[in-house]
């Protein structure tokens, strides 16, 4: 495991070093961005809407019983933008995009396409890893912004139309505006960039390590998704702990 983490850090470092050349790979970055958007936007929307709704449903009636219903908007808003938005989107992208990246690079490895690149003196990190990593690092924060907005909307709908939570749209949004600041949104965005690095690096690393034919590709994909989700949750705690003191 530690060897794997070491290799991933090294892979990320090599990709980061070639970041100044990302403009040369812009066509591939845009292709990846399109893939990510196309594959994830609808799911992100649906997921966020229900996450926001469930949050409101869970905390709304309890707060209402104690006469604290005016804080529902702020509570839902904070939970979604600082925690649920970034984490849920990262898990979604790890499952949908990370797995696809691992499968694609893994197949390329199995069918000697990566060997062919090396014989042409084309660095697989520059050609394959960099555009994918760059695209995820751009796409995930954008998806998180989108998810946060839709999640807030989901929370508002449930808060207003659920009879157990006596809140109006105006009260919900006013409280959300009072409690959620730019710093809270930045908190979520910083997390999402860190998660993007984890997803991209883990997915590409597992793809490049693939051996053993189609079964090996399947094994790598499973490992990629599981490792990415575990690392996201661990990193989430660490980042939250650090950012609380900032």
């Amino acid at each position: 495991m530690f060897r794997d983490i070491g290799k991933m850090v090294l892979l990320f470092w090599r990709a980061a070093c070639s970041l100044p050349q990302v403009w040369q790979q812009r066509r591939k970055v845009f292709e990846q961005l399109f893939e990510i958007g196309n594959a994830s936007l609808f799911m992100a929307c649906l997921l966020s809407l229900f996450i926001g709704g469930v949050m409101a449903l869970q905390i709304g009636p309890t707060m209402d019983e104690r006469g604290l219903q005016r804080f529902v908007g702020g509570m839902v808003g904070l939970a979604i933008c600082k925690e649920l938005g970034p984490v849920m989107m990262a898990v979604l992208i790890a499952g949908r995009i990370g797995s696809a990246i691992t499968a694609e690079i893994g197949s390329m490895r199995v069918y000697q396409e990566i060997d062919a690149l090396r014989t042409m003196n084309i660095d697989p990190v520059h050609y394959l890893v960099l555009p994918r990593l760059a695209a995820i690092m751009v796409a995930l924060p954008l998806l998180v912004i989108f998810a946060v907005l839709v999640g807030w909307m989901g929370g508002a709908l449930v808060s207003v139309y659920n009879p157990d939570i006596r809140v109006t749209f105006a009260l919900y949004w006013n409280n959300l505006g009072d409690l959620v600041g730019f710093g809270d949104l930045a908190h979520g965005l910083i997390k999402s960039i860190a998660f993007a690095v984890v997803i991209g690096t883990v997915a590409c690393h597992q793809g490049l390590q693939t051996i053993g034919g189609p079964r090996g590709v399947g094994r790598s994909v499973t490992k990629s998704v599981v490792n990415a989700i575990v690392l996201i949750l661990v990193l989430d705690y660490v980042l939250t702990r650090v950012m609380i003191h900032l």
């Binding site: 390329m108 069918y111 396409e113 060997d115 062919a116 090396r118 014989t119 042409m120 003196n121 084309i122």
Partner: protein, 258 residues
């Protein structure tokens, strides 16, 4: 970054010294010593599983030896950026085309990624090379639409685009019909004559091997059994070499008549 595309001198010499390699504790190469002269066509023959392809991968740096070293142009392939010093290409047995790219993009990939030519020049070179391997007009297809033989020809075109100094072929005529196999053989010889490319060819194809080779090595179970000119190898007294060179399928007439 590599030097300019035009090659005036001979291809580099290749030397293998005491090359050992094993996978999961199973030895594949047992101390291979070989020397390939500059501009030579050197053919390595041997039964399947004898370590020929593994040996080829060591030459281009895709595998690292457990012991011994590979010298290309007198410089170790273990050195940093060894591929920067000599332009090398390899034609893989499977073709190893990038499945997400079209045939034309595959062939022009080296020039495009290293920004060696304008897009118009790349398109022209790609068209020429595809014509050379008998695939004119197939540039917009994707590899999944090609037969095994066509993939192999695209791989050869992709290698030719690099105008390499050292060209490695892993079974270049497998899956090709005899006419196309002869074309590939002629192109290997032409490259030597035009650009003095050093070529190392791994093949089972005895016609190809003895037709194009300056020297032939016979390999078995990770060891070189004999090296020499085609005539010298044919005269070899080693029973294993004779067996490999002379074995042929004979129809059992007694079975047919019974």
């Amino acid at each position: 970054m590599m030097s300019a595309l035009a090659t005036n001198g001979h291809g580099p010499p290749v030397e293998l010294r005491g090359l050992h390699k094993g996978f999961a504790g199973r030895p594949v190469l047992h101390g291979i010593d070989l020397k390939v002269e500059p501009g030579e066509i050197f053919v390595i023959m041997g039964p399947s599983g004898s370590g020929k392809s593994v040996l080829l991968k060591h030459v281009i740096g895709l595998e690292k030896p457990d012991a011994g070293e590979v010298l290309v142009g007198g410089e170790s392939m273990a050195a940093e950026a060894a591929l920067d010093r000599h332009r090398m290409a390899m034609v893989f047995q499977s073709g190893a085309l990038l499945n997400s790219l079209t045939v034309a993009e595959n062939v022009g990939l080296y020039l495009a990624e290293h920004r060696l030519k304008s897009q118009d020049d790349i398109d022209q070179i790609v068209t020429e090379k595809l014509l050379l391997v008998g695939l004119a007009g197939e540039g917009e297809k994707i590899p999944a639409e090609l037969s095994g033989g066509m993939k192999k020809r695209v791989a050869i075109a992709r290698a030719l685009v690099m105008e390499p100094e050292l060209l490695l072929y892993d079974e270049p005529t497998s899956e090709l019909d005899p006419l196309m196999a002869a074309t590939v053989g002629r192109e290997i010889v032409n490259l030597k004559q035009r650009q003095h490319v050093t070529s190392i060819v791994v093949s089972h194809d005895r016609d190809l091997a003895f037709g194009i080779a300056d020297r032939v090595a016979i390999m078995r179970e990770g060891r070189i059994l004999c090296v020499g000119t085609p005539a010298e190898v044919r005269r070899s007294g080693d029973a294993r070499v004779k067996e490999f060179l002379e074995v042929s399928f004979k129809k059992d007439n007694t079975q047919e008549t019974s």
